[in-house]
Symmetry: D2
Subunit: 333 residues, 4 copies
Amino acid sequence: MIEVALFGAGRIGKIHAGNLTKQAGVRLKYVVDVHAESAQALAQLHGAAAGSVEAALADPAIKAVVIASSTDTHSDLILRAAAAGKAIFCEKPVDLTIERARACAAAVEEAGVLCMIGFQRRFDPTFSALKERILAGEIGSPEMLVVTSRDPSPPPVSYIKVSGGVFKDMLIHDFDVFRWILDDEAVSVYATGSCLVDPAIGAAGDLDSTVVTIRTRLGRLCQINTTRRAAYGYDQRFEVLGSAGMLQAGNHKPTEVVSHTAANVSEDKPENFFLERYRVAYANEIAHFFDALANGTALRTTVQDGLKALELAEAAMLSWRENRIVMLEGSRS
Amino acid sequence: MIEVALFGAGRIGKIHAGNLTKQAGVRLKYVVDVHAESAQALAQLHGAAAGSVEAALADPAIKAVVIASSTDTHSDLILRAAAAGKAIFCEKPVDLTIERARACAAAVEEAGVLCMIGFQRRFDPTFSALKERILAGEIGSPEMLVVTSRDPSPPPVSYIKVSGGVFKDMLIHDFDVFRWILDDEAVSVYATGSCLVDPAIGAAGDLDSTVVTIRTRLGRLCQINTTRRAAYGYDQRFEVLGSAGMLQAGNHKPTEVVSHTAANVSEDKPENFFLERYRVAYANEIAHFFDALANGTALRTTVQDGLKALELAEAAMLSWRENRIVMLEGSRS
Amino acid sequence: MIEVALFGAGRIGKIHAGNLTKQAGVRLKYVVDVHAESAQALAQLHGAAAGSVEAALADPAIKAVVIASSTDTHSDLILRAAAAGKAIFCEKPVDLTIERARACAAAVEEAGVLCMIGFQRRFDPTFSALKERILAGEIGSPEMLVVTSRDPSPPPVSYIKVSGGVFKDMLIHDFDVFRWILDDEAVSVYATGSCLVDPAIGAAGDLDSTVVTIRTRLGRLCQINTTRRAAYGYDQRFEVLGSAGMLQAGNHKPTEVVSHTAANVSEDKPENFFLERYRVAYANEIAHFFDALANGTALRTTVQDGLKALELAEAAMLSWRENRIVMLEGSRS
Amino acid sequence: MIEVALFGAGRIGKIHAGNLTKQAGVRLKYVVDVHAESAQALAQLHGAAAGSVEAALADPAIKAVVIASSTDTHSDLILRAAAAGKAIFCEKPVDLTIERARACAAAVEEAGVLCMIGFQRRFDPTFSALKERILAGEIGSPEMLVVTSRDPSPPPVSYIKVSGGVFKDMLIHDFDVFRWILDDEAVSVYATGSCLVDPAIGAAGDLDSTVVTIRTRLGRLCQINTTRRAAYGYDQRFEVLGSAGMLQAGNHKPTEVVSHTAANVSEDKPENFFLERYRVAYANEIAHFFDALANGTALRTTVQDGLKALELAEAAMLSWRENRIVMLEGSRS
């Protein structure tokens, strides 16, 4: 039996709690949250106890921690969990600064513990099937990736202000998709954008609409477009052009009803937002983490992936702020 | 806490076991199966005990039974469970004979117990959304229903022989869909068919390809087409024409990957078979049953629905065998 | 140079005039219509002359006639044109009575002239591609055909009264599609229907909503559903199930615009009505007729096809009126 | 009667010849081509005469010229036709140099003649319907445009060498689509690309795979991706995100056949290449030109549009070659 401590009892913490308690041989022992009542309620739902970080990390029965607390706590918890020898599942991003993210990567390596970053898109049925089909050679050598990543509506400006900016908060997923799908590293990043949705976002020093271009070592090309507000819902698509064809990952829909009326022929809008769209992906990633922990299989996303995605986000932010193309020599390591 | 006995530990029994143990306030107490090891294994998986029909029905703690055993045991178990005052969830069909099905309906009424028949299509997200949109008036008054119901491959002939024939075994679901979607009763049934897939099915006195036409009291029209073998998979669609438009229920797919190659543009085949296609529907119907039991809400499918569908299956069989249109005066009750 | 006389300067006559004047080596010489001004106007547009049936048939330069006049004139014109040794293109139906249609077939055979019936669906790009793919073996042996044939709105009741009824007027095309696609002849026909769109249609002794089932010599099955009023437009689809797969012919749309809004994801309704939907088919069938005439290639639809479709329409009407299954022994010839 | 001279009897010249002879009140009088036999053959097909540029421009009966000759002759012919007071329809691009394109624009303005550039995409049924729906407010204010523009296979390297490069030869259309759809002018252009299809293209100093980003005065964003080789055919899509929704322009297909097999569910690949894809657009643009000429209506694309698109192509080339973001202050005129 693998006993687990969960840090964070918010929206995403609840998802992980529900999923990890479904794993055979896994037991949720502690739920930790700065908001004691939330911790208590979630713990009770799953037969666990509310606890503290200290207690959880000091408990030798705890083999793994799941970090789903606020972004500013991630790196600290990773460092402490690594020091305590726990296997770590941590939501993205590792941290908002590259320095601390690197420190986390170093600590994880030194401790020799598992550390998986929650890039759940890699575990989505559609996205992962597409990746497997690339690997199977269906479209030959990948040449170009177009990522469409649009939220239905922006978060509160209060959140925007502590989010690290749209590149670290939202595009971090798309940067990971880029690395995963094209299987290559960036040599240049160009990013620009606008504030078209809400001037308050601009006043907070951020963008709500962005376009990013990445060129890789092999000359592969990637374009990403994002917005904080797609009136029609959560739009999560990408397409990969290869030498022998193209694969597209389309949106998921709640139902397969098609309506024919005097107005038009219509179908459902995409799944509402990430909790619905990536419901299966969240379950799959947790299953993968505990499978790796129990059986020693390789993790499909690591703290290194978290670091690389953060470097791309940093480069994009720099490109936008300084209105220049950012070359990534350092990433050739 | 509602304690439950499950009769049948086969493929569909396992599905129900998994779903009912996820209901809050519900506990699986007994698993009963003629094959003792299967009962034992499934019981163990869910912290229940293998038991006998007698023990389960005699246990006053048991408030409900779930009948997922072979078809020939359904009516007997319904009668005994009703007599014991248990709420009943039973897989389709109620029985292969109308007489016994009527006896079940009478017994259920007399005992005043809940009895739900597992017409899971009514709980499918796509199908139920479509029904709600008809009720909301999106296509005006329904006029015509076309049902496409095709299995990927035929069952063994040994099963065919005890199945009651394709109309009672396979189309029973489509007859229920007809009644549910058009919200009307049949006045005439015409059915014909062929044996195009496997001569052994014909030798067993059955059809593998059928077409059925139903006309209702309000003059609404329904066409059903079925086959035991669709080379491309499990095809479960229907469309409803109304005075103001049309609604179509399409197939569900495993992923939303679209592939463009030199050959064509392709997407996934439909979900493989009923366990995949109706996975959510199975969960929803069990939740509905226990919700009705706990909260007194009305059941959306009852033993009467089971009886009506069986009457249509019987009429279709008669139509085919005697090569005539069968008028259903009796159904006007 | 093949010189041609056109009988009928109405909606469909204009289409044929436009198409035949585009054929290399073909010249429209006469336009004949009971309404002299219409004949005059259409003739002038294409550099032809208004004329009479007598003059056109007596002119030895006329090698072919295109009959697009009202239904009640078809058989008379076919008989006269055959007697005059002209090649004949005639709109469906050959006639409203089987006797006269048979007389036409006999006259055509005796005269040894070409006689093509305007079943334009066989020349539609989608439908004909589908047929070719069946012939290429893509879905193995055809087993089942489902035809959806729906008009956007009913014609005036005055037209209904002289139309010969929905089976001869509207389904005649679907009966031809049935024979063409399944490549087999009917042994039984069952038809029923309702008057759900306009009671005046019922008062005129006709149906506006029909369902037909046909079984063939090889045991293949066909279901046809029609309505005179599909609120969403002209719906012309069919699908063929074969032993190795299924081919569907979908509707054509005016544009490929897809709209995502807060309401739904929508695309265009189907092409408005037959003139738009079968625009290319009309051009193709005329090209085919003159190609056959010039080069001696075989006609893809003949007066025999017109007769067979009419026999099916007659059987359907009988089935509906007498509420019985009609057996077609005679068609085994 | 408007009499016309056509310069260029190649692939696209033939298309224009066929379309312009279908216009009421328009007559093709001269066909001019450096290859005399081609001119002769095309002229004969349409009842015109082969002629010289001099003769055509000197003939006062000639009211309009259609320039479909090789790119290097465009500007010279525009200048001479303008001087001769002829209305001008010219294929893209105006010229490969901005200086000569500006000279053309000036000459056209001075002569006061009509000059339409053949950006046929603006006349495509799907693209123009989409534009009208933006104008009708369906998606609110446009914010972002993603253009996918992929050829099925590269032209010969001999053509590449004289093409002016991929930005002027291929993306010129996409730059015009950008200006037309977003209804705004560029302030910055970033372009990069790779040679992934054929090293000979790179050796010729060109790219075969490109990605371009444009930011407009209003902060609108555009991303374009192109390749010279899409294994699945000619891919011509774009999508526009607006404040209230999104509109997508999808590919056109030859037929609406859908195939379900044991492998997958498939439909047709896109129309093969530009002659098929833009067949209707070519007809529409010629009709538009002669309508403007006859009725004085405003041209929808002018030599100014040709110049603006060329400026964007030049900026993109500069951006790629110098690996920098190109600011377009000058375009604010």
